[in-house]
């Protein structure tokens, strides 16, 4: 294994009951880089990204074999799932703030980890919101319901909520697919800034988005990774014919 790998995935297979959703997936995800998963819908992008913080554990009937390691530690063996999820935060397709105040949303994770002191939590909330470029917009309404925010603001709140855990990795599953272009642009700008401090894995079905923001790209097709490389190679110089077809818009 090369040292700057955050995740190391080897021969990973995943079954939803009998449906084989991931087929012998091999992939390395580099630290402090943005890695994009692209591919037509239903090809297993979400399934793979949800393996990285064991979100699939919640689904009845999922069977997994193969290796997923974070920092050379098997996430299905040597680390407990709570610790894993504090190291690997997640942002979902649809903004899903809790029906509570903005402040409580951010404070939720740290509080669950046992942080009690009000001053500590205040500091975490402010820092996370600032990192998520949301502080100026919500600092006067911290105690109002997060559901009153716009969709884009809600999504940045969810990013701030993930940041509040001081994770090493942030997983984003199509984080902008429910947002308008302006909100999308803001999130992309935010990702640009966040990649200095975090390893980011993002699922997107917009190839332009992948091209704009990612360093590396993995192309999926029906549960397999067809090709993974630096984004510039994938987009300008794909090795596999299927990748080229997809990139040039011939299917998908």
């Amino acid at each position: 294994m090369v040292d700057n790998n955050k995740f190391y995935i080897k021969d990973l297979n995943l079954y939803y009951d009998t449906l084989r959703a991931l087929k012998d997936v091999n992939l390395q995800i580099k630290s402090n880089k943005v890695t994009a998963f692209i591919g037509p819908s239903g090809c297993g992008k979400s399934t793979l990204i949800r393996c990285l913080n064991r979100m699939n554990d919640l689904i009845e009937g999922v069977k997994i074999n193969g290796l997923v390691a974070i920092d050379n530690t098997d996430i299905y063996g040597d680390i407990d799932v709570i610790t894993l999820r504090t190291k690997v935060g997640m942002v979902f397709q649809k903004p899903n703030p809790f029906p509570m105040s903005c402040y409580d949303n951010i404070a939720y994770g740290p509080r669950c980890q046992g942080v009690k002191s009000k001053t500590d939590i205040d500091a975490i909330v402010e820092k996370s919101l600032k990192q998520a470029a949301l502080w100026d917009e919500v600092k006067d309404r911290l105690n109002k319901s997060a559901l009153g925010l716009s969709g884009g603001q809600q999504q940045r709140l969810c990013i701030a909520r993930a940041i509040a855990m001081e994770p090493e990795v942030i997983l984003m599953d199509e984080p902008t697919s429910a947002l308008d272009p302006i909100a999308t642009a803001k999130i992309e700008e935010l990702i640009e800034n966040l990649k200095k401090s975090y390893t980011i894995v993002i699922v997107t079905h917009s190839m332009q988005q992948a091209a704009r923001i990612s360093d590396n790209t993995a192309f999926f097709l029906s549960g397999e990774i067809i090709e993974s490389d630096t984004t510039s190679n994938i987009f300008t110089n794909p090795i596999n014919k299927k990748t080229e077809d997809y990139i040039t818009g011939r299917f998908g």
Binding site: E60, T86, F92, N96, P97, F98, P99, G109
Partner: protein, 393 residues
């Protein structure tokens, strides 16, 4: 031809709705017309049975403390149009009115001073009972006062040296005891059924793996909800009252009611829990929360309105229950002293007075109270779901 059929169908539909609404209104109207005459303040504060005592106290003169007596007459209860003005008697430290009920005349204590010695009046065994507003005076130191008037009574009292003994009746015909019993029953049943029901629902929705066991439990709760309450009453009587020797009691009643409520609470709580979007669960787990944290901090608070509605509708169920309680808690019109005392709720009392005493007027009066309570509870439930449905998802 088709038109005629259409027309006929329309008439039938209108007729049916008209009959439904009409019957409902007729029932409510009947109950209101029959019962409304009994409803006044003392209906709620009096017990059902009247009680007559001989009560003694020392006669010492007490000035009326309220100076605005002349303009603002301090009688408070039992005042109907054909009552006389109250007369304050210093020896009693209270005022009396003369009240005509048909051809009968009654002298009723309408006002008692705070420091009146009537409040300390003792019965013949020396126990303090106290004479309160609303009590009816029958005799004074053995002297019958039926054919006297207020002035004469005042004179009789004025002549007494030392102790005064009044024969008084604490009037009945009220539902105070039944209201208290109903409250006890609500508190007790809810404190048994709500926690169990909610925990069971949490188990079913959040913990249990879908399978034979869960579907069996679900089928059982659904079937239980459809069984008429008299069956539960029979079970409660056989098991709690007889076998466990609780006798007819609050506890036996509350346990039986709890069994009736459980399926309802479980079902509605389940619905409320299922309505919590999975995205909340995912978000919580994604932040490294444990299952218990997710359930207690996210899922239950989000499901709270639904659970609350279930609890409020359960209160309605308790108020409306009669058959099961009749068999397990009894019909006694006395404030229950402990968990093992018998006591009749409002609805049971309505049954009792109608069946045993043919007192339709009182049954209807109780009916009014029950109808209003149920309507209010339903409105509250509606309001809660409305407010929270808007606020939440």
């Amino acid at each position: 031809m088709r038109k005629a059929k259409d027309y006929l169908a329309k008439i039938l539909i209108y007729l049916s709705s008209f009959i439904t609404v009409g019957v409902l209104l007729a029932i409510i109207a009947y109950i209101f017309i029959n019962g409304i005459g009994l409803i006044n303040w003392s209906f709620f504060t009096n017990e059902y049975n009247d009680k007559t005592y001989y009560l003694q106290f020392e006669a010492n003169k007490l000035q009326l403390s309220d100076n605005s007596y002349k303009d603002n007459i301090p009688y408070t209860r039992n005042v109907i149009n054909n009552d006389s003005e109250p007369l304050y008697i210093e020896e009693l430290g209270g005022a009396i009115i003369e009240s005509k009920k048909g051809s009968d005349i009654e002298f009723i204590i309408s006002y008692v001073e705070k420091s009146s010695s009537m409040l300390e009046a003792k019965d013949r065994r020396g126990e303090i009972v106290g004479i309160k507003e609303g009590y009816i005076i029958r005799s004074i130191n053995g002297e019958n006062i039926e054919d006297k008037n207020l002035e004469e009574i005042s004179n009789i009292v004025g002549d007494i040296q030392g102790n005064i003994e009044l024969k008084v009746t604490n009037p009945g015909n009220g539902v105070f005891t039944n209201i208290i019993t109903t409250l006890y029953m609500i508190l007790l049943s809810l404190s048994i059924a709500t926690p169990i029901g909610i925990l069971a629902a949490i188990y079913l929705v959040e913990y249990a793996r879908p399978g034979k066991l869960v579907s069996t439990i679900r089928f059982a709760t659904e079937s239980l909800a459809g069984i008429p309450s008299i069956i539960y009453g029979l079970f409660g009587m056989a098991f709690f009252v007889v076998f466990l020797k609780f006798s007819l009691s609050l506890l036996a009643g509350a346990l039986t009611i709890s069994i009736i409520l459980l399926p309802v609470i479980i079902r509605s709580t389940e619905e409320a829990l299922k309505a919590v979007p999975d995205s909340y669960r995912e978000a919580s787990y994604g932040l490294g929360a444990t299952k218990l944290q997710t359930i207690s901090k996210i899922i239950i608070p989000s499901a709270m309105p639904g659970i609350l509605v279930a609890v409020i509708l359960s209160i309605g169920r308790i108020i409306g229950e009669s058959a099961a309680l009749l068999l397990t808690a009894g019909t006694v019109s006395k404030i229950p002293e402990n968990l093992f005392s018998s006591g009749g709720t409002l609805t049971v009392q309505a049954y009792y007075v109608a069946k045993e005493e043919a007192n339709i007027e009182m049954a209807c009066a109780i009916g009014i109270v029950v109808i209003l309570l149920i309507i209010i509870l339903n409105l509250i439930a509606k309001l809660i779901s409305k407010i929270f449905n808007k606020a939440n998802y």
